[in-house]
Symmetry: C2
Amino acid sequence: MKHFHGTAKQERALDAYVKLLRAADTVDSFLMSRLESLGLSPSQFGVLEALYHIGPLCLGELARKLLKTSGNLTMVVGNLERRGLATRTRQAADRRFYLVSISEKGRKLIAQVFPQHVERIVGAMSALTPAEQESLAALARKLGTTVAARNPK
Amino acid sequence: MKHFHGTAKQERALDAYVKLLRAADTVDSFLMSRLESLGLSPSQFGVLEALYHIGPLCLGELARKLLKTSGNLTMVVGNLERRGLATRTRQAADRRFYLVSISEKGRKLIAQVFPQHVERIVGAMSALTPAEQESLAALARKLGTTVAARNPK
DNA sequence: CAGCGGTGGTTCAATATTAAACCATTCGGC
DNA sequence: GCCGAATGGTTTAATATTGAACCACCGCTG
């Protein structure tokens, strides 16, 4: 059931684009549904997970890593702070920077939740063979980095 | 720079998952940035484009096609209606259904914007060769449909 | 035809998200 | 040392997004 007709080139590009977005959306909402039942929003989990695995980061670094705006991060980190899962401390060296760190409570939460999360990712991706997973990763990586490079933030 | 260490199976799945999401996010925000400069939010464009190419749909069908909740669609369609780009009419046969249709104004807008949108998709996807685009589409399709089938809405 | 369960939409409260305007701080040139 | 540009964060206004509670309508069964 197709509703747009263009050149072969256009249909190929559109088809790949639509399939890519739908797959990402489907897999992500499957994974996030579990996290939300633990009281963590997708964004909150994303920030905590980054802090947990990478270490303290300032707001701007978080925004760039997560592909979100700084204004957005202000809100999400604010919510994490209010819930005692992260802290924000002003840098003495350059007082414009706020270093965001995961709290002990946040660390415990991620330590508890992350293993199951990984297993759910493994489960979802098992729809593809290992070779297919690697192929998908390579193609997605090439596409993502090329488009990102062409459009400097 | 990797910050998580697990089994080969876990790292492969995680890597594919992360690359997939980032590619989708990068491409999508590249495309949406142009649409927003025309005053159309991504969701509004999604709904209008569906109505334009498929024809009138009821709220629930729209929600399923766009992978959103019905509550969300109530809001987005409300905004489209307020701007005169779509209409909502109650079905006489079964008065629970509201049929959503694109207006003439909306049709003109999409007719004007869609060709450029497709060309931008072609431009973005040209990061991959035609064969790679087809390969990506096939892998994404397999992943998306399998995960969706395993998790009936 | 009364009641009831199921389906379609809406409402509500909370969080997210962005762009744009704005504030705070640093740093370079003078 | 002061000013202006640049950088990092916050705020604001608007839209989006979800799950849960709720309302409206249908069809069925007694």
